[in-house]
Symmetry: C3
Subunit: 208 residues, 3 copies
């Protein structure tokens, strides 16, 4: 690789701020959708736009990463962070899309509950990621990460209780198939948020 | 790591050509199988042989990567490319195997449609990967990547339409379980092809 | 990254020994649980404790990795090894948890068979990982890796035969949904053990 024509530095923080804002948008809009209980094709299109915009930012980050010589933290951590933030928005969009495909258009109180926890977790992710700009914030960032981990445990228990309920009460196997996937997907969003804390933790540790 | 006994250079391009040819073989044979609608154990064995041969090449690549000091592009990109190409052949083989296990032996027009798109996408992957040998091809490589991304979107829409149809029309939950997994797997092949474009994109960008 | 305050060396082998012992504990306890056929909440709690302790060790490894300048083998390989060993324990714990959620509390001879193969494979993983401390063991390590790969193939065939049986014999779709996931998860444990052999293989090759 020839470095001579590469820009020496680039402000990755601005792009991460933008990317995590799209993740928050997706989480907020997801909560709105499931609260109304009717994800139609128009609503889905708006979600796909959010996902698409987040995707563009992650491509921007990867492109600058490959062209920039000096980075604010390890290249592999920048790559992993952009990837995980992209995964959050992707997964939320996937769930919305499945709700349409599976015609799950009635209000599901379990999903509303999950959407709230996802919202809290993605907000904490946003707080942690935006904090990386100034590492004097490291204590507050770490507290966000603890909160994200707590919410992942909450999500695990929620999913298990909901699956047990579905298997117990639902007599229709088709409904079981659909809800099982949706609840597992919802929990996956919280897993991805937890993956972000691993990257953030590595960044903090290396800068300590 | 002691570099002194390591060969300085190795021609990775030859191995990538071989590996992507096995992916093409798998895609072509898969299309043939689903068009006949009868994947029997003998047919499966032939597919497994293709997968096994592709696997051997990827091991060759990893081995040379660990023993070679000078590589034509970043080590991590070589590793990722070999891994993703292996994933394509693996996933196609997995689907063929599931067709046998699930006794899905009648002709399924949806699967034929998917097999065609997979064929097109894997051909474009082969074109892009073989192009890496001479980066004067970069424009044509990029066009292949655009095509692969287009086909991934086509696959997403196909899978969603097929799942909606299955959930709408199939009264038998067991059939739903089987077809849902098969169609999602088929789309996963296209996702992996898209993953290849990310690696190829990074390689092009770093060499630009 | 400033290296001046970083400890120069750290004994990663001790932590890997501890981590792989937790994986063995999980595999042994899993076999005990499925042999009794009654995973209750108390039993699950003990499994979760094993998983939690393994998790702590992997965090220790990641933390030391980020703070240590000289490592016994490539940093990326240390990271990958700790990650895969963690995945083994995680996946076993996930299966145990699903058995409770799905109320699969009767003895399932298939699962006992799988638990035995998992035990053998995790034991071979422990042998290989503990061998890394002294690379004079490399031949014995490689033999363990061959055995792990053999057991993964055994697991593939077992899962396929069990799924074919479930689809053939079970008239209840809900049971199919549950058992299908459990058997696929069980095979995933063997896949993860095989992933360990890839990391171990890379380590051996680089040190050769």
């Amino acid at each position: 690789m020839l470095f001579k024509f590469l820009p020496k530095e680039f402000n990755f923080f601005d792009l991460f701020d933008k990317q995590v804002d799209y993740a928050v948008d997706a989480a907020v809009y997801f909560k709105e959708l499931v609260s109304k209980g009717a994800v139609d094709k128009a609503a889905l299109q708006k979600m796909e736009e959010i996902e698409h915009q987040g995707d563009e930012v992650s491509h921007d980050i990867f492109e600058h990463l490959n062209k920039t010589f000096i980075t604010p933290f390890d290249r592999e951590d920048i790559h992993a962070l952009a990837k995980e933030l992209d995964n959050i928005t992707d997964m939320i969009n996937t769930i919305a899309s499945r709700l349409v495909v599976y015609k799950l258009t009635s209000v599901d109180k379990n999903l509303i509950e999950f959407a709230s926890v996802i919202n809290e977790s993605v907000n904490a992710v946003a707080y942690a990621v935006k904090g990386l700009r100034n590492l004097k914030n490291s204590k507050a960032i770490q507290e966000s990460c603890v909160e994200i981990n707590r919410l992942e445990n909450v999500g695990d228990a929620m999913r298990d209780a909901m699956l047990a309920e579905v298997f117990e009460n639902s007599k229709d196997p088709i409904t079981v198939i659909k809800l099982k996937e949706i609840y597992q997907d919802a929990e996956t969003v919280l897993d991805i948020c937890e993956d972000v804390t691993h990257v953030v933790g590595a960044i903090l540790l290396k800068q300590a």
